[in-house]
Amino acid sequence: MTDTLKITDDVLPKFPKHVKFKYNKPRDEWVILAPERLVKLDMVAVEILKLVDGEKSVKNISIELSQKFNAPKDIILKDVTDMLQDLSDKGFIEENG
């Protein structure tokens, strides 16, 4: 692992190689899989993580979501930042580059 990542607007979040964000068909659920870890995700988290690709910045992810769900940009940006920070502290998100 590299150093602690601070999630800011310009960060390009991505999943580390060993972390898989996946849909499990028989269970009909989205999960994050990592060594000895399994995180079940709610719909909000799934919508955010579907946009995490290492190309889009935190800010752009938030803008896209705020348009899609017709919600205030600053609130969404805060939610996205908090969630990604939490996942990053747990080692499930890293920065591209």
Binding site: M1, T4, H18, K22, P26, E36, L38, S88, D89, G91
Partner: protein
Amino acid sequence: MDDLKQNNLKTASEHGIQAPLALLAELSHRCPLQCPYCSNPVQLEKKTGELTTDEWKSVIDQAVEMGMHQIHLSGGEPTVRHDLEDIVEHCSKTGLYTNLITSGVLLNPERLNKLESLGLEHVQLSFQDTDNDNADRIGGFKGGHAKKLEVAKWVRDVDLPLTCNCVVHRQNINNLDNFIKMALDLDAERVEIAQVQYYGWALKNRAAFIPTPEQLDHATEIVEKARVDLKGKLVIDYVIPDYYAKHPKNCMGGWGRRFLNMNPKGEVLPCHAAETIPHLKFDNVRDHSLKWIWENSEAFNLYRGTDWMPDPCKSCDRKEIDWGGCRCQAMALTGDAKNTDPACSISPLHNEIFDMAAEEARNAPPEFIYRKYNVRFNSPI
């Protein structure tokens, strides 16, 4: 036959239990090491009885159909199997998150490279100590530790994430700091610091392993500090020996609730130590589907839920939190798997057993009884 219920016990779905999350696949009990705390049963399975490649592939397909997320390829030493590559490839094709739990000593760079390219996602490498000589003594394998350090580098060279599995006990707990440092030096993502759990081989060696409460408190302090200092850099998982916990661990997330374990000959167990409960009858994937076994197998249904519990668990408000602790430990220490796990401070046997273990911890450690085939020991209890 598959549609017949085996007995009158409630099944998984009648308990409201969903499909398991992960499969622990013991590909082989064979292992070049002889750790005296090995979780394998004291009666080890020989090569001739092991499932074939195709049988494992079928099990993997079934696990995916059931909705399992992860597979842990373990042992013994899973790399003794020459078809490990085929098995990894199959797991990865079907979308299972594939983890290899290994002692590493049989690996080489070419093989790791191949496994990575076939879709292996993570390697868990076991370490016996950070001190070279002591590590080799504990594992009973000369040159083992040096080889492991090399293997860890190869793992990172092919960009596979690494977890260092460190089993700590009174004979290496003073190196806890060094274990964490080693994990950082080896560029591991995660370090798992587990105290020995006492059943199977480890119970035979409890006196050689059990730390004193002071040693344990010190260890816990080190881990807590490191967790803060290394947040976001290194994940530290820590399991304390439940002899010193107030309540037992929530063993496997409850008997037959989340995981299943398969032994090398295809028997399906609720936990890796379940073979230490002599009256359990295990069903085999050679006779039934995995799904049928999860739903109906007596070994699972006997201790599912809470109906089977005697007091004090029965009337305890934690019974759906820790599910009465570990059945194997209850069996090993009280002679009845149904009893409250004596690790629980509420167990009537807790003090007696706790005192005995604490006494052992104060005395000089005895020699190890090494994990081997075809040796029989008298139980120390």
